[in-house]
Subunit: 336 residues, 3 copies
């Protein structure tokens, strides 16, 4: 593909020679013959010294190499990346080796691959692709243009919006974890609630989302969830939030809009986290209410800056113990 064709498709103009572009690469692993991107002026030297032949640059930046100017270089780059993908779409149609219950309603252009299992009263929207070994339980509804990867299990009465992507072996609809002790035994509290997932949600591999005890577990529009995350019963995740791998959110907790939970974070039950809260990796949130915009770190999670000060002071703790001992000696204070 020539640089001019890339510029044309993006409706942007280019500067420099109209070279041939064979792929995309980044500055951390630069490859000759490709197009890359930079996000600010500080990266100009790196870009010019790299083997990458052309760049998408932000407004106000020029390069001694062919370049395209874009308002949002990273976003524009992500559009170009797609064009060079070696991955090919799967053939459409319903495999004769899939199981589709006669009452299931399939939209136009749905793909169902071998050994997928679509139960009674399921509805699947247009252009959605269901990979092998997917199970969709009774009465669940999948929206349009969804991609449900191999081995995903969606239990009964679950609702998914449009353009939802779910990666392999994720489970939507295990029972919430609720018991009551009776006669010295743990008796199961039936989990009769449901799960509702909005539009444009992406969920990674081996994630577990439990259905509500009563009511609903809810993942709002445009939430992105990484691999191996646990979402317990009755959790509510606000729109546009980002949940990184191996996070666990306990029962009935909620996140506002635009929150970010970094990897391996734990959130206790019945915690209410407001909008745009950021929780640093491995932290454990137990405060019952977290105000908007807070940045938290540590277990138990505290204000990020305060925690940083404590961690810095910790480094001096062994020395501090000695210093206090010396002061006591000087003052003649006896210690056993």
């Amino acid at each position: 593909m020539r640089l001019s064709e890339i510029a044309n498709r993006l409706k942007l103009s280019y500067e420099g020679e109209d070279i041939e572009i064979n792929g995309v690469s980044g500055l951390d692993h630069p490859v000759a013959g490709t197009i890359g991107f930079i996000e600010n002026k500080r990266m100009v030297a790196d870009a010019e010294n790299s083997v990458i032949d052309a760049f998408i640059v932000p407004e106000g930046v020029t390069l001694r190499k062919p370049f395209l100017v874009a308002k949002e270089p990273k976003y524009t780059f992500s559009l170009v990346v797609e064009w060079f993908s070696p991955y090919k779409p799967y053939e459409t149609g319903i495999s004769p080796q899939a199981y589709v219950h006669p009452t299931a309603k399939l939209g136009k252009n749905v793909t169902i691959l071998p050994f997928a299992c679509i139960m009674e009263d399921v509805e699947i929207g247009e252009n959605t692709i269901i990979y092998p070994h997917v199970f969709i339980g009774k009465g669940s509804r999948i929206g349009n243009n969804c991609v449900i990867k191999s081995g995903v299990k969606i239990d009964d009465l679950t609702t998914l919006g449009d353009r939802v992507i779910i990666h392999h072996n994720t489970v939507i609809g295990g029972d919430g974890f609720g018991y009551v002790v009776h006669d010295g035994k743990n008796v199961k509290i039936p989990q009769i609630g449901r799960i509702r997932i909005g539009n444009d949600v992406e969920i990674g591999a081996c994630v577990t989302v439990d259905r509500a005890a009563l009511g609903e577990t809810v993942i709002e529009d445009d939430v992105k969830i990484d691999n191996l995350v646990q979402i317990a019963h009755n959790v509510h995740i606000g729109a546009h939030s980002i949940i990184v791998a191996q996070v666990g959110i306990a029962g009935s907790s909620s996140l506002g809009e635009g929150c970010i939970l970094a990897g391996q974070v734990g959130v206790a039950d019945h915690v209410k986290i407001h909008d745009r809260v950021v929780v640093m990796a491995q932290s454990g949130v137990e405060d019952k209410e977290v105000p908007s915009g807070k940045i938290l770190f540590g277990t138990p999670a505290r204000d990020f800056m305060e925690q940083k000060r404590i961690l810095a002071a910790q480094l001096r703790l062994p020395e501090l113990v000695k210093r206090v001992g010396e002061i006591e000696k000087r003052l003649g204070i006896e210690r056993e």
Copy 2:
């Protein structure tokens, strides 16, 4: 369903009007037309002010609304919840699209759904339901009245008791993680032991239970395990214990009866935890022996009250560093 019918079924009497009940709800998400429950007097005002129309209350409590009196309101409520479940049972019978080895022995009234795979010499007890995409390896035995959800993998020679529920995509019987270095390489130690799971055990989704190196990995009766938990080889979990999501228990460790491990706890290998020990979320237990009844917190896990005192003191640590500096100044002690 009328309140009188609910009372009848429970063999309890009711007070107030015999109203129509259309469902169940809780005080956190109250719904009109439903029945709820309260566990003590302090919740009476909340109950009376909510839109919920009737309540199950403990003995000695009365309400200015229709109510039923029960010894254990939460337990009684859990019985009522079941009656309002919108989930319908799956049809019984053996799907012609399942694979069942001719040597497998199936009890009366077993259900096997499409694409389940039952290998040589497997035995499955009465009334057990096997969902799609379940794999049961050679010689494994599943008890009566079990529910094995879609995608569960039970490898060879595993034994499950009666009334066991296993949620989707859980793996029972991966090899334990054991290697010996030889010629600079990690050589696999064959894992030839087995797994035994008792009665009334419930295991969440995407859990991994490894088979023993030699001997057995054991989960005793009435243990309840949440999602994404790791149980390593030769672990022994005592009866009635509760293991919350994302816990990891390393090789050869044991839990006594009635223990509770909160979310994301880690237990090192060869740790012996005695009865009724509680470990708080995200803690890491490395002491080789933990006495009965202890409550632990932190990494490394310490006595809960001691850890709380340390955490409180940590908040004062940055200030403490300054204070010691001032004292030294006052005393003319020089610091570089």
Copy 3:
């Protein structure tokens, strides 16, 4: 099997009576009629007092029981363990209930069990066994003598070496977790890279390995990965490394050769860990570069010995706060 036969097969000589051996066991769960092993002289008394009838011992050690002498007793024992395994191999051949795309190339003696799904242009090497419900996406290549357990999902264009073992429900090839904010929404950055896995790699159950954004996610030869581990896009894991259960490694980070990450460790993104680094359980590594041979502990991970000193000092922290208060009182320093 007689002791003499075991010795013969191992090409070792034995001392003592040529007794009958019916199995293997370890000193933690000793069983009569079996053979065990000890690794050093300190275990001689335990060995002699146990019910185990014969032992493999290191050079220079003798026993008042039948024994074999081996250079590496644990390694030799692991060879013997295999002979007593009750697990039987699965029948070879291609199940008529599997789906194999006509363009797939299968080596000699490949086994494909029911409901496995082998897509277009897949290549599978000799003697490899594919269990039920495995999905292998377009254009992926599996080496010789691999074991791919039930429910494993290997997405398109992935390469596996020889003698690779992957346990149940593991996912190789979910998309990396990458988004760019555009118009207030999280827009997906297409993940068009690949995954390459070397020879002699073993991966546990419910592990997730993401494909690269661009370039490759790489797991080198002889790496061993436990259950429920997260390997993000563009991660590179050096040969012979050991990754224990529930570890998470974030995007673009790399491990050198022979590293050990203990259970539940987290590694932040773009971290470069050099050879033979050991990270203790539950630690969080955020330093951008970790030199060879370091031992790390804590969150944030610090030098192990330093962290141990800090933890010891922490135990004295509540007392230290009091002591500083007393000193101030003595000196007449006022505090609010």
